[in-house]
Amino acid sequence: MIEYINQGSQDTRSGFGAGLTELGRTNPNVVALCADLIGSLKMDQFIKENPNRFFQIGIAEANMIGIAAGLTIGGKIPFTGTFANFSTGRVYDQIRQSIAYSDKNVKICASHAGVTLGEDGATHQILEDIGLMKMLPGMTVINTCDYNQTKAATIAIADFEGPVYLRFGRPKVANFTPVDQTFEVGKGLLLQEGADVTIVATGHMVWEALGAAKILKEQGISAEVINIHTIKPLDDAIILKSVAKTGCIVTAEEHNFMGGLGESVARVLSLNHPTPQEFVATQDTFGESGTPAQLMDKYGLNKEAIVAAIQKVVKRKK
């Protein structure tokens, strides 16, 4: 298996910006909308190259969602960009009726997800968005782990028919997946084989999972690491195949344990192959101000937390 190394830390939102720029050059139907956060969403280059295909909506997210839905009527593929909080909770009913129930081909692209936007605090963070979005019938939910994957996902969803929620973050994080990767919606990725425990991670927690696996190796525990970038539809098969071998699992996500990846995995397991599971996630709480690293530490969202969860779950194996 590949040894994953950090090719140089970058923010996942810049991966989105790079993917959007490429789409601007390759797909004339792609249009972009933003609610006064062009710089934060890294949309500048797309706008520079395609001024007529960009819609600055102003601070009016509800209107942005409706306009995006309308743009699909006429064959456009709209990519909306704002923070994850303003992309979901703020406009839930607009997404529900005008996009999801109306089967509109809108890509809701959400930066600054989780706690890692940091100092702005809980008003601008969100730990509930995966749950909100995965509950919507027909909505595909993707949470990418690094720059390269975010870029690949952005490009891939333009050709994927139907509404998509693409979630990424603000801080610079390790960029470790291949530059030239093919992104397949709904397909989990086996990053590292192991025998004693399965770690299923999404978003920023994937790099932490790889770090945890290294620590565990020194302790004589062999961890299998799976990157689930698509939370809905979930790749049930890759998870079930892994737990059949390892017999226990830890899920890791920068999200509330309620409504997140962990609960989706738990459902698959309980229906098919009941397995001891521990959840690395926030514990039904809001975030707060702080640096991303401080917040990840305080809320138990790092490799140390994953290691602790694994030490717990392996003891629960029958």
Binding site: A62, A69, G74, S102
Partner: protein, 281 residues
């Protein structure tokens, strides 16, 4: 005025359809539907440039969005008589497994519907998106939308109203059903909205007023005038002063029939006031 006669016949038949549909399932919204019958009959039969058949993208034809989705009975009847789907399907309104849901939806694939509506305040934004898609596609056709006046209490409308003028979306004609009534009573009592015309003007729209929004010739003349004003850098608003429950004497001058169906006896009286013209479903 041969055309006028056919339109009048259609209006009478659509009213009958509305009444029979809501009566059959003892639910639905006859008041606003009856109030907007003349408008929608005129729009679809005299004003909009429509292709044969239906495709979702609506390229090279005018498109319409109903924002106040609760007046689905009138929308369904007008669409059916225009040939989008069989008139007899009106008999399935609000029944299980029907394409004619309580509020309009694309979800069941009913031809003629391009967006779900019912949760209020979203249609104008959608219309703005479709209008801008038309501009990108160099499609000179227009986008129409209809909103309730009570619906203007939803804040999203004002985001959209600001945007439309600010971004010069001038291929859009938005009509407000100004019946001055909503579920809980007169709009002036529930939530006084002041001078709606002045508000649209202040935001930078053209405003046209139809004094009798149930008069076919006034409606058609105003819609044609609105069409002539498109492409001049401003969105266009038509304030359509309608009578909720129009065409049924006991349903007029009250908000009581906003969301209530007539009983058997009331239906008979109401139908007697609106003769069958094109054939009941």
């Amino acid at each position: 005025m041969q055309t006028q006669t056919i339109l009048e016949q259609t209006v009478s038949q659509v009213r009958r359809d509305i009444l029979r549909m809501v009566h059959k399932v003892n639910s639905g919204h006859p008041g606003g539907s009856l109030g907007c019958t003349e408008f929608l009959v005129s729009l679809y039969n005299e004003v909009m440039d429509l292709k044969e058949g239906f495709d979702m993208n609506g390229e090279n034809e005018d498109v319409f969005f109903l924002s106040n989705g609760h007046i689905s009975p009138v929308f369904y009847s007008v669409l059916a008589h225009k040939g989008y789907f069989p008139v007899k399907e009106l008999s399935t309104f609000r029944l299980i497994n029907s394409r004619l849901q309580g509020h309009p939806t694309t979800h069941e694939g009913l031809p003629g519907i391009r967006i779900a509506s019912g949760s209020l305040g979203q249609g104008l934004s959608v219309a703005l998106g479709a209008a801008q898609a038309k501009k990108l596609n160099n499609d000179s056709h227009l986008v129409y939308t209809l909103l309730g006046d009570g619906e203007l209490q939803e804040g999203q409308n004002w985001e959209a109203i600001m945007y439309a003028a600010g971004k010069k979306v001038d291929n859009l004609i938005a009509t407000i059903d100004l019946n001055e009534k909503q579920i809980d009573g007169p709009t002036d009592v529930v939530m006084p909205m002041g001078d709606i015309s002045a508000k649209f003007l202040a935001f930078g729209w053209y405003v046209l007023i139809v004094k009798d929004g149930n008069n076919l010739s006034q409606i058609i003349a105003t819609l044609k005038k609105a069409k002539s004003m498109t492409g001049k850098g401003k969105p266009i608003c038509i304030l359509l002063k309608t009578e909720m429950g129009n065409g049924v004497d006991f349903m007029m001058n009250t908000h009581a029939w906003h969301g209530k169906a007539p009983n058997d006896e009331q239906l008979e009286i109401a139908l007697a006031q609106n003769p069958e013209t094109l054939g009941d479903y």
